[in-house]
Symmetry: C2
Subunit: 340 residues, 2 copies
């Protein structure tokens, strides 16, 4: 059960909404948006890459960069019904109306949108400490809840930020995918965990080496890995072995999020623009303990310089070889100087 208040709502089209903390009732004329019909959802096995590809061929267009007045993540007001059936809220989660996979006889997946705050302007970087604490509880609750649902093989908490990453909504939010299979990146990492915890060893190396360490504080570490694929890639983790958010005490969850926020604020100072990035949280897959993973967060900022994107081109996409035009040690120096 969550450590904060949670209110569960089922919309007329069957999608779930979870309101966390305090909230106000929606306006009397609230009308929930409906998932468009006619979508085709499949997963197809790619035998060359040995991976599932999700096919989500909807005939309807997704909401694309709406003005604030039409933002589907803002509270609902009279005459304007958003995805959130509330006139005010602290944090909310709802099942995506334009998902990449759907539940089907317990074998499908779940796509959730996590709304960090009901304030339209801002980002993860501008959340207050109490909002970070709330978000930590929301993520933990969603992980616990989704991990126990039938057919869910992996719960993946992530965030895309910035139009250059394809983000179509500016309101501060992230996503959660509950995959009905173990994704290849997670599967690969878990294979590395069979002879002791590789993450524990990598973290110990970085702590000892210091050279690429950004933050080592309150049991959390943040560093530029020596083998970064992205110019300013940063990995964060609890220093001690914890397989998921569930194994962190609440204060530690807040510290993990606070550590991430400090890094992202440094990103935003680096080129004096909000850094477009992807955030990927890797945890243990559902199942009995002993869980194998070591909870960690990977941040992939996609700028390599002021106004210059790091592109994934032929070498990355066709051969699987990343090219990084920075030295991890120098990236760490630059980011460290921007930490507050």
């Amino acid at each position: 059960m969550p450590r904060v208040a949670r209110t569960d709502i089922v919309q007329p089209d069957g999608r779930h909404v979870y309101l966390y903390g305090d909230f106000a009732a929606p306006p009397p004329d609230y009308e929930a948006p409906r998932m468009p019909g006619g979508g085709v959802f499949q997963r197809r096995w790619n035998p060359l890459r040995r991976e599932w590809v999700l096919v989500a061929a909807s005939r309807q267009a997704r909401t694309f960069l709406p003005q604030q007045a039409e933002c589907p993540l803002c509270p609902s007001t009279a005459g304007r019904s958003s995805e959130i059936p509330a006139g005010h809220f602290e944090a909310a989660v709802f099942e995506n109306r334009f998902p990449s996979m759907i539940r089907e006889r317990g074998r499908g997946g779940v796509c959730e949108v996590v709304v960090y705050t009901d304030q339209h302007d801002g980002s993860f970087a501008t959340l207050s400490d109490s909002q970070l604490t709330m978000l930590g509880e929301v993520w933990t609750d969603r992980y616990r809840d989704l991990a126990t649902q039938a057919g869910v093989k992996y719960v993946y908490i992530f965030e895309n930020r910035g139009e250059q990453v394809g983000v179509t909504l500016h309101h501060p939010h992230g996503q959660i995918y509950a995959y009905p299979f173990l994704p290849p990146v997670a599967a690969g990492e878990l294979r590395r965990q069979t002879h002791g915890c590789l993450q524990c060893a990598l973290i110990a190396d970085e702590v000892d080496g210091k050279r690429r360490m950004l933050i080592a504080d309150g049991g959390m570490v943040a560093y530029v890995p020596g083998y970064a694929r992205w110019p300013y890639e940063v990995h964060l983790a609890p220093r001690e072995h914890r397989s998921s958010l569930l194994e962190l005490r609440p204060a530690s969850r807040t510290r993990l999020l606070k550590t991430m926020q400090r890094v992202i604020r440094a990103y935003d100072r680096l080129f004096e623009v909000p850094m477009p990035y992807m955030m990927a949280m890797h945890q243990s897959p559902p199942g009995p303990p002993p869980a194998q993973a070591h909870l960690h967060i990977e941040l992939y900022p996609i700028l390599r310089d002021r106004g210059k994107l790091k592109y994934l081109a032929g070498s990355e996409s066709g051969a699987g070889v990343f090219i990084n035009d920075t030295l991890a040690e120098e990236s760490a120096d630059r980011l460290r100087a921007l930490l507050e």
Copy 2:
């Protein structure tokens, strides 16, 4: 030995240039551009992903979208020395002045640029049949030559097209990377070849199924794979097992390139803009026969709709799960209707 005339030149900074076919001497004042000093070239092992990351940290900026008058791939003229020491040429290859890896005691890699024609305007889609034949011979020669160089474990012929893929030069060209290790995508495919040729089976399925076939002609096939990661991904291959360009007769090489050109011309008609794409050619790694691979070309066009890019975001980058918003069968129908 190549089947066409080849002239080898070593520039003052040690980089090789290969002129294929006919060419004219450079202007008397030709001065070869020099590779900037101060670059750092490393490869670093990513133990989480089990892959090499190439680090190429040069202090110098790459040439970025030059005007035609400064194009480094055009022929050299009086007062304007390009990368090509010739006043005219048919096709040329030179070692990249801004490489992502360099040779080092036989353990490094080679980055070559393949200039398809000395005409600045145009693209692979506009090459004449005789230019396609020449390019087929150039690719074959480079594959043969690089595959026998010390320390080369994989020869990867590819092309990035379009600014949205990060292309910095518009002159029609592609690239070749000779990696000092087997890249993960190639390694994965080769693991699939141990119990017979998977490509042969996949091609037979597509030929039998017909549903996603675009072209089956002259011993070549082009189809949208059922498990496409990109909305209009197309795979091309000789229908019979051939492990590399070397095992194709010259006329078949031309047919393979001509087949690819027909597909790319359909791409350009699809949204009435030059389609940005990546082309990845997968062949056998160097070594004694029997070679394991089945030569094939994968085309990844990055538009999913008119003016809309397919982004690699959190699911693709952090979990390794591609989301495709089209059905391969419908993509095949659309492309087939645009073939000429």
